[in-house]
């Protein structure tokens, strides 16, 4: 696989690029521009795609860096997580053979990830949701693999504290008090 195959793969990747763009931008108009812009950039530099790089993580990388550049250009802070949640949570969960508890849990998971700081949230989206390896996520975000792992660890601690059993939540709050003291 190299860049020559990229044009043929883009339409197939589109749903995942769209979902990722929606989740990081939180706005469907931004997401549409973002995906389009990213595909333009990707095709322009298709020759740079290495045979050992997954085209999907390469595309995630371009979508993400395009978004970061756009945010810098706009000089605005990212949309708040709460706003992001409100946009999508009300549309949640296809109830087909899923019990209400599963739906509730899914909603809580999405909510918890949505509340994470931006850098951690993107790592969670890439690794836990999109299934990228640590190395692929590191390539996509252009940071060392150790950074990916520590962001992931902090993100998971935060999610665990939000969604864990009452016992683990209690212990987490004790732990926080201890660490502050």
């Amino acid at each position: 696989m190299d860049g020559a195959d990229l044009p043929g793969m883009l339409p197939e990747m589109l749903p995942r690029l769209w979902a990722f763009a929606l989740r990081i931008s939180g706005d469907r108009h931004d997401a549409e521009d973002l995906v389009q812009r990213a595909c333009v950039r990707a095709l322009e530099r298709a020759h740079q795609l290495q045979p050992d790089t997954s085209p999907l993580s390469w595309m995630f990388s371009i979508v993400h860096s395009t978004w970061i550049n756009e945010l810098r250009a706009r000089s605005v802070r990212k949309r708040s997580s709460m706003e992001w949640d409100d946009d999508f949570l009300e549309n949640l969960a296809d109830p087909v053979d899923k019990g209400p508890e599963a739906q509730l849990m899914h909603g809580q998971i999405i909510n918890a990830v949505g509340r994470l700081p931006e850098a951690q949230r993107v790592v969670m989206l890439l690794v836990a949701v999109e299934g990228l390896s640590y190395q692929e996520a590191a390539d996509a975000l252009e940071v060392p693999i150790g950074t990916i792992m520590s962001r992931l660890s902090r993100a998971r601690q935060a999610v665990g504290a939000l969604l864990g059993t009452p016992d683990s939540k209690a212990r987490a709050s004790v732990s926080r008090k201890d660490s502050i003291a």
């Binding site: 769209w18 989740r23 999508f88 990830v113 520590s150 601690q157 999610v159 732990s175």
Partner: protein, 307 residues
Amino acid sequence: MKTDDLMLMAYVDGELSAEESREVEDHIRASAEAAELVALLRASRLDYKQAFATQKLPPVPDSLTQKIEAMARSHSAKSAAASANDPSVPLPLVVPAAAPVRSRLRAVPTWLAAACVAGAFFGGLFLRPGTFPLLSPGVPSSGGATMASSGLSPWVTAAVGYQQLYTRDTLAYADENPAATSKIVDDIRRDDKLALRIPDLSSAGLTFKSVRRLNFNNKPLVQIVYLPEKGPPIALCVMKGVKSDQAVAAQVVDTMHVVTWRQAELSYALIGKTEGVDLDALGKRISNREVEQLFGNASSALFPLAG
């Protein structure tokens, strides 16, 4: 501390060797803090993929799908043409009209614009299967004046496909600089030798937004875009043609209303959705010169305007 966290995460995820696991377990027994971290990390072992799969996101917009497909196709065609050196399918090119003021995300390179036209071009194929002379071997393409068997010229079919990609947002950042527009109109009249009139359609509730020099089959194609009070934009497209005059006729192509006529060796197509605007009546008013023209003073002395 960080390494410790990472080891604990790897432990929770079952990624350590038996020996490493035993070491971590010893550490957990000795450290309440480590035990708490392990509890949090265990609680975070969730089916994120499944949870997000149930998140009902808005579907991929059709316009985006079309753009990406057109882009991919255009890119493949470009590569193929570059390697085979035999561009058997002429792709229409877009002449960028001006440098519009746009956000960075909306700044679309020329070849993408070409891809959109290419998409329209292929889209036209779907609208009228079997009637696209450019793709039929042995049939000499005679450009804009060729009438397809359906009665709709290929360039009109292509223009309809192109117009279908337009939304109000497409024009949100369109250049409204009158000086630049005058220059474009001048260039069209002088370089393309096309006696262009830009009708003032404000009496029909249509605001002039832009004029663009496009290309169909290596011949100039002018697209004049208007914005109605609501609904998607409406385009008046003009191409040269040597055939005799033809009265105003209306058709519906896909979801688009198309009104065509020929007058003084120019072919016109008024294209849009019909919400709130009677395109048929408007086409007649334009062809009867019942509307004023904009940028009339921009005309170059080289090419006297009829009317």
